[in-house]
């Protein structure tokens, strides 16, 4: 994976980037209260007195949030810390009723890890994970319902978050984009976060700086908050890096600051200077004891781990013999991978993969269906491939059978049987057709024998047509060759 280098007349600049990703934890209830986490409920219905910051209310930790964060940590090859602590991060904002966020500061639940990313050219790089800590989400401010007021909904206040912090290891927008896609795939496999960036259940802060090629220390960075799609993250890195270079080349300096990326213009604007607004006055959370876990507790979670995309991909390539590209596409989504595996069981996996990547995905896309809604079951797709492999139907007929399967949901054997679509491999029957075509088209036979061999395709077409598409093309070819020469 090649680093992004910005070349100017005088210099070559290297792009440096790190990400902080907030993932909403999948759980029934909030991190420190028994209120529901359900999305899209009436305002202020999923709120307990704890979430509303009422005096005297004490938080109690939801075990599921801890388990989910540990699972995510294990999925990122990270060290799970048996000792962690909660801290208060103090800031003043209308949708933060307590006036502080319960988070982890000095002792996070998950320590260093890593994730390997691979880009289209097949090259790989390992991105370091700095830490994952767990914390509570804030409420939601709605600014556009009233000209003079902001409305606050606390349904989201207190929902569990995992903040995944990477090292400043990205050297191009592509690497960051690949990392996010892969991370999203992993949390979805694990069921620890639904990964929907457009609904805000996965939000990304992007830190960008540049340095001249050869420099070893980092220059000041700017941070862009809440960039909400993979594409925008990539755009934000590129445009911000270019802005830094321009500032430096014009003799200016970059200060550490927080900016807002605007996808419409593809540029960022200043939000606040970091040193002042970020005086969070962290201190240990007095309402919660340190979180102490045992090896046994962590080992039990390890046992629940599902096969992750990379391992599945490797197994599909090595054991099922499909191509690396097919394996990558099929493994991005766990349900798709499971569908494929079921369809391929006992059949020609490579052909099943071809059908899935081609006609099957096209069918789902056309009707806007998810894999669960597929009218064709995994078993039936496998059977269809079997009918082709065993020579019961030919490739062209298979396309028609596939269409009928999509319409009716029937099994391919039943459709082939009822519609009489079995391929004709019976040499005598095909020979009879060939004889008739040769007799009816003496001019073309003459032309072929005089060297116009391109006519072979025409003859094959005629025989196939006369057989109603059911003749085995290989048999037809062989017989025609011998009869015409």
């Amino acid at each position: 994976m090649t680093a992004m280098i910005i070349e100017t007349e005088k210099n070559k600049w290297e792009v440096i980037c790190g990400l902080e990703i907030h993932c909403q934890i999948v759980s029934n209830s909030k991190m420190f209260s028994g209120a529901s986490t359900e999305y899209g409920t009436e305002p202020n219905h999923n709120v307990s007195f704890i979430d509303a910051g009422m005096p005297g209310m004490l938080p109690t930790l939801n075990e599921e949030c801890v388990r989910q964060a540990i699972k995510t940590g294990l999925g990122l090859n990270a060290k799970i810390n048996k000792y962690s602590e909660f801290s208060r991060k103090n800031y003043f904002y209308a949708d933060l009723p307590q006036g502080y966020q319960i988070t982890q500061f000095q002792y996070p639940l998950v320590g260093e890890g890593s994730l390997e990313v691979e880009t289209e050219d097949g090259s790989r790089r390992t991105i370091g994970i700095e830490r994952i800590h767990i914390e509570q989400d804030a409420g939601k401010s709605i600014h556009d319902l009233d000209p003079s007021m902001t409305f606050v909904d606390l349904n989201r206040a207190g929902v569990g978050l995992m903040e995944i912090v990477t090292k400043a290891d990205f050297r191009s927008p592509e690497e960051a984009g690949e990392f996010l896609r892969k991370l999203r795939s992993i949390v979805r496999y694990l069921g620890t976060c639904d990964g929907n960036m457009d609904e805000g259940s996965m939000r990304c802060d992007v830190n960008v700086s540049v340095r001249k090629v050869g420099e070893t220390s980092f220059r000041p960075r700017s941070e862009m908050k809440n960039v909400n799609s993979v594409r925008f993250v990539m755009q934000a890195i590129e445009s911000e890096a270019k802005r830094h270079v321009e500032v430096y080349e014009n003799g200016g300096t970059i200060e550490q600051e927080t900016r807002q990326f605007d996808p419409a213009s593809g540029t960022s604007k200043l939000m606040r200077k970091k040193e002042f607004a970020h005086d969070y006055r962290y201190f240990p959370e007095p309402d919660l004891l340190p979180l102490v876990l045992t090896d046994e507790y962590i080992d039990n979670i390890k046992k629940e781990m599902v096969e992750l995309p990379d391992a599945k991909k490797a197994r599909f390539i090595n054991e099922l013999g499909i191509t690396a590209y097919d394996a990558m596409v099929l493994c991005e989504n766990r349900e798709v991978a499971e569908f494929f595996e079921k369809a391929a069981a006992g059949h020609d996996a490579k052909k099943v993969a071809n059908w899935m990547m081609g006609d099957f995905f096209a069918l789902l896309n056309k009707d806007g269906l998810s894999i669960h809604e597929s009218p064709i079951s995994a078993e039936n797709l496998g059977k269809l491939v079997d009918l082709i492999t065993k020579g019961v139907i030919n490739g062209k007929t298979a396309k028609d059978v596939f269409e009928m399967m999509a319409e009716t949901g029937e099994s391919p054997e039943k459709i082939v049987e009822e519609k009489g679509l079995k391929q004709v491999t019976d040499t005598a029957a095909i020979e009879a057709i060939i004889d008739k075509i040769i007799a009816d088209n003496p001019a073309n036979v003459e032309a072929y024998r005089n060297g116009k061999t391109g006519l072979m395709g025409w003859f094959v077409g005629q025989v196939m047509k006369a057989s109603g598409g059911k003749a085995n093309p290989a048999v037809v070819n062989g017989l025609l060759q011998s009869r015409l020469s």
Binding site: N28, P43, H45, T60, H143, P147, M149, V152, P284
Partner: protein
């Protein structure tokens, strides 16, 4: 550690507390008295000792992931100076 008048103003701002100008000096002195008192603890040698978060020796107990509360918007909004359409209504927040 000594607190000066500017630090008092900064902390007041971060906490959204209004401290009148004629109270700044007094507040500063109070801060310093408290800090001086706490600084007596510096006499104890804590080299190589991890900070103590809690004197409680029990472990943190965790809750099962079950929904037990909610559906009480009236109670949640009861103390709100202003509410609209079921939301807390606050003066426009501009980033």
């Amino acid at each position: 550690m000594a607190i000066d008048a500017d630090t008092v103003r900064k902390i007041a701002f971060l906490s959204r507390l209004k401290v009148d100008d004629d109270k700044i000096e007094d507040t500063k002195d109070e801060f310093n008295k408290i800090l001086t008192w706490v600084e007596e603890l510096n006499e104890v040698d804590t080299d190589g000792v991890e900070p103590l978060v809690s004197v409680n020796q029990t472990n943190l107990t965790m809750r099962k992931d079950v929904v037990t509360e909610g559906n009480q918007p009236e109670a949640i909004l009861a103390n709100a100076p202003l509410q609209e359409y079921g939301y807390f209504a606050v003066p426009k927040v501009i980033e």
